[in-house]
Symmetry: C2
Subunit: 588 residues, 2 copies
């Protein structure tokens, strides 16, 4: 008899218990329809991940738990939910309950449905779980569910054995289960409920985790992962199953649906997307079968396509979950605002996006032409509002301050006047303003607080400048494939980047070439290399010191940036927990 | 023979290892000079508290530890420092080393100096310690230090026994030490190295903690607490000692210095302030002896004086530690900007503060007069920059957008133009802009992003509106006592609050009276009461629902507010860990 399990890859919204329950129910019904004997949701699927300080409210824990245990499903489903504590002075658990088939009991009497509690609680990078949860010291097993006996683990529980946690925990759930197996406990498979955040090529790490677990346990290891964007945290889905021989099947990214797993025949696995209009469905829906001789890492072309979809998902889900229908942004004719416009149009529809060109006396005609070209190619709304008159009025008013002070004051005025105009449209028309900055310039403070940094979301805020160009190529090639005009013209692609805030200004007057800048930043931020290490890697000391000094000096700006979808392994404000503005450089 | 211990109440700067070491050395030398046989620093005094993600850098841990163990001191000192782990896959400890008297060994060979590691790691409210540290399971004892044997604990270690931690830990260091005492381990006293953050009247809780510990241990219990501001976290000092009979001696708040404790005679305790020019010295330097029949809570007059000093310390230390010498702010003639100006002048000196009145067509003459009055009474710089012409130019430019959209767009324009002018002065002259908003209006979104919210620090951001009035009274009375003009005149104190962004606008047109609003907010934020509870407490349901709805709807603004010194038990962005903008209301 074939053994089918449905992995429910859904896009939970934090705090939306009713909506999340309904999404899980719909996915479970698809799984049943296609022959699954039981199904597995993602980590904390009922509450959404991460619920953060909502978890400090006991009512929230209780309501989540009650909702999870009383789901209306026709096959048994393992559901991720906070589990109430029995003692008011201890923390709740991050757990898994069994929904369906048993008869739900009135409030609070469903403790017999609890099948697992998370053992390894990550508290590094974007994770804070020891703040909210009490760890379990016992591995989970669920017997006789859909005719199978399953090991049950939750996200981090599976990562230590693969050596992919920064520090070691006092226990290892996979080793526990393997030890029980050696002692005669027979399991058909082990499942893992995950909310594993995305960064570029994270899927390669997850494949390694699942292969290690399957090999250790000597049975299939199945991981159901959350999909969608919750502010700056993205979840790519890519639910997967690994067999002890190294074969892996990976579900699509940025799509809601069900990965139907045939435990006995990898080639029988199927992906069934959710068809509802509000279902997340970005990128392609290809199922990947990866043989044991491949590590499953993405090729560079595939990687940049995936990053593009990640950035679109971030903005699209932020808007959907916050009830935002339309967007406004400044369109300067430069590469950043052109690509931000592409992302915005992909996220909420070109007809809901307004771009405003706001030339000053320093703007060139090509800027205006290029901005108009992009707007027309995308089919978005476009208007021109010159800031020239206001700029002159304001300058003459405070000329004595400007002419005796730092020249940056004069430049910032233009950026802030543009911020006012963009925000006036946002406030008047109920649009969200989108900030167009990228990670390279934000890292260097090459941006203006309350000016071009104004806006509720920063779609390119975790992309280095050269990645912004790469995204432009992706949008152009996607447009061409659909028979549309490529939205970023060659003038925008090739002209030297300029903020156009002073006569003949070029970014390279203040910053190293972006190829160099990006690489120095990457080595420092993502590989935690210091100046000496980076110089060793082949960069000029003076340049490196300048870049790191600007990075340090402009820290305050980054903490005022609106959420940016996480693309790199260390986004600002995530992996880097906000230090104090007043800290000294301890290496002095 | 008298037994004197010096508690070193110093203002550490996060990351400034050299500066912190030197402050500890200076304080230890004062302690020695006044007869102390040994001294005790505060928690993580060498690194500053909280070091946050600096703790993820092994070099930082090692350098802190080396600096702590090699302090140049003439009496032995117990110093708080991160303690390196022996294993690269585990976390460091939050520990205490013994400096002085032993001969310091070369790098890394000072492990024999480690006398304690923190056992209870708080991870709630503003604390994140399980993220950074591994807990110890062994209580600390330091023998033969200054001729005494001491129990050694670190901050939270002492709080569980008083029932003042939100959840219980698996162990209790004070109980451990008491049990050893019953088994015959004789100690002269137990010390506690703390970095216990301030909120109003926190000292009452600390007195309870120290009395409980002293009673349990049956010997004196001494707590050395950090003092000063680190961004939004404030530390009030108030180092203290409690005896088993309930007598308590408390050091002054907002002052750096040494509490010299005579273990045998409370009335012999002394406070010696640090005399250096850069030493923190705000408020008065009175030592308090509290007898066992008082709980040590502050009277309301004392409380508001202390809150005033807290807010001044926050801004003053933010400026000092960040190298900011001068401040600019908008001076509207209203109560908030008047009090913010008082704070700024107290923090950096009136001669370094510039107030700008920026009237629009909606501003009244009394606003301008009151602003000028405050500036002159304080002796700060003052100028007037009308925004009228820019306002008209901008309005006429985008009139079609404004006249068809939400009226808030038109109001925000004025606030944002003022933001540009303030920031132009900040950027040109190297001043920090200070935002003048209070907690009540920030909670309700009655403020403008990139407008009046612009600025690097928000000194009144954790004060309810009625507290701002109370601070005005304090500043007036302090001025009168010094024979100066009271800075807030009666017109500013008594006129109905108005944003003056539309004709005849009053805050009460949009918000409940501030007495009502403040109380609803306090019950919800600090006492976590929901709408039903608050209505039960005597408020009109409709008003309560409106207030809570605005609070929810304007969450995004609060996460973009610059640091505000924490005064209440739940400041925005601290006790309230940032939830996702996109979360739903789970109670729907």
């Amino acid at each position: 008899m074939p053994r089918f399990i449905g992995l429910l890859q859904v896009d939970s919204t934090v705090g939306n218990l009713t909506g999340n329950a309904s999404r899980i129910e719909r996915a479970a019904s698809i799984a049943k329809e296609h022959g699954a004997a039981m199904a597995v949701s993602t980590e904390l699927a009922i509450s959404g991940y991460p619920p953060r300080d909502l978890l400090l409210q006991p009512d929230f824990i209780n309501m989540s738990f009650d909702r999870a245990t009383s789901l209306s499903v026709e096959i048994p489903v393992l559901v991720g939910t906070p589990v109430p504590t029995e003692d008011s002075r201890s923390l709740p658990a991050n757990g898994v309950v069994r929904a369906g088939s048993l008869i739900a009991q009135p409030n609070g009497e469903n403790t017999n449905r609890i099948v697992a509690k998370k053992q390894l609680l990550p508290s590094y990078d974007v994770f804070d779980e020891t703040r909210y949860f009490h760890p379990s010291n016992r591995s989970g097993i669920c017997r006789a569910i859909g005719g199978m006996d399953l090991g049950v683990t939750i996200c981090e529980d599976a990562w230590q054995i693969a050596g992919l946690t920064p520090s070691s925990y006092g226990q290892d759930p996979i080793q526990n289960l393997a030890e029980w197996g050696r002692q005669g406990v027979k399991l058909d498979a082990t499942v893992n409920l995950s909310a594993s955040p995305y960064h570029a090529d994270k899927v390669g790490s997850r494949i390694k985790v699942c292969r290690t677990a399957a090999l250790t346990l000597q049975h299939p290891f199945l991981l159901a992962n959350q999909v969608g964007g919750n502010d700056d945290l993205l979840f790519d889905g890519c639910s997967l199953v690994a067999w002890p021989n190294g074969t892996v099947v990976v579900a699509p990214s940025w799509q809601e649906g069900v990965l139907l797993v045939d435990l006995d025949q990898p080639e029988n696995c199927r992906w069934i997307g959710m068809a509802e209009e509000d279902a997340l469905s970005i990128g392609n829906d290809t199922l990947k079968i990866i043989s044991s001789d491949s590590d499953g890492h993405e090729e560079s072309a595939e990687l940049i396509e995936d990053i593009t979809d990640a950035v679109i998902t971030g903005l699209a889900d932020y808007c959907r979950k916050s009830g935002i229908k339309s967007i406004v942004l400044g369109l300067s004719g430069g590469i950043d605002s052109a690509v931000a416009a592409c992302v915005a149009c992909a996220a909420v529809g070109a007809e809901n996006v307004l771009g405003i060109a706001m030339p000053s006396r320093y703007s060139s005609q090509h800027s205006l032409d290029d901005a108009r070209y992009t707007a027309e190619a995308l089919g978005m709304q476009f208007k021109i509002e010159s800031i020239d008159e206001m700029h002159s009025t304001l300058e003459s008013k405070i000329e004595s301050v400007l002419s005796n002070g730092s020249p940056v004051a004069r430049e910032n005025i233009q950026s802030r006047l543009r911020g006012i105009i963009v925000m006036a449209h946002a406030n008047a028309e109920g649009r969200m303003a989108v900030a167009t900055g990228n990670k390279s310039e934000l890292a260097q403070g090459y941006c203006t607080l309350y000016g071009d940094m104004a806006g509720g979301y920063t779609p390119l805020g975790d992309l280095y400048k050269m990645q912004v160009y790469a995204l432009a190529e992706v949008f152009n090639s996607r447009a061409s494939k659909s028979g549309l005009q490529p939205p970023v013209n060659s003038s925008t692609m090739t002209k030297p980047p300029s903020a156009e805030l002073a006569p003949n200004q070029k970014d390279e007057d203040s910053l190293p070439p972006y190829q160099t800048l990006d690489e120095i930043l990457r080595l420092h931020i993502e590989h935690t290399m210091d100046a000496d290490d980076i110089v060793q890697a082949g960069f000029t000391r003076e340049v490196v010191l300048d870049v790191l000094a600007r990075l340090e000096r402009n820290e305050h700006k980054r903490w005022q940036m609106s959420p940016a979808p996480r693309v790199t392994s260390k986004a600002f404000g995530q992996g880097w927990r906000r230090p104090l503005a007043s800290r000294h450089d301890w290496r002095d």
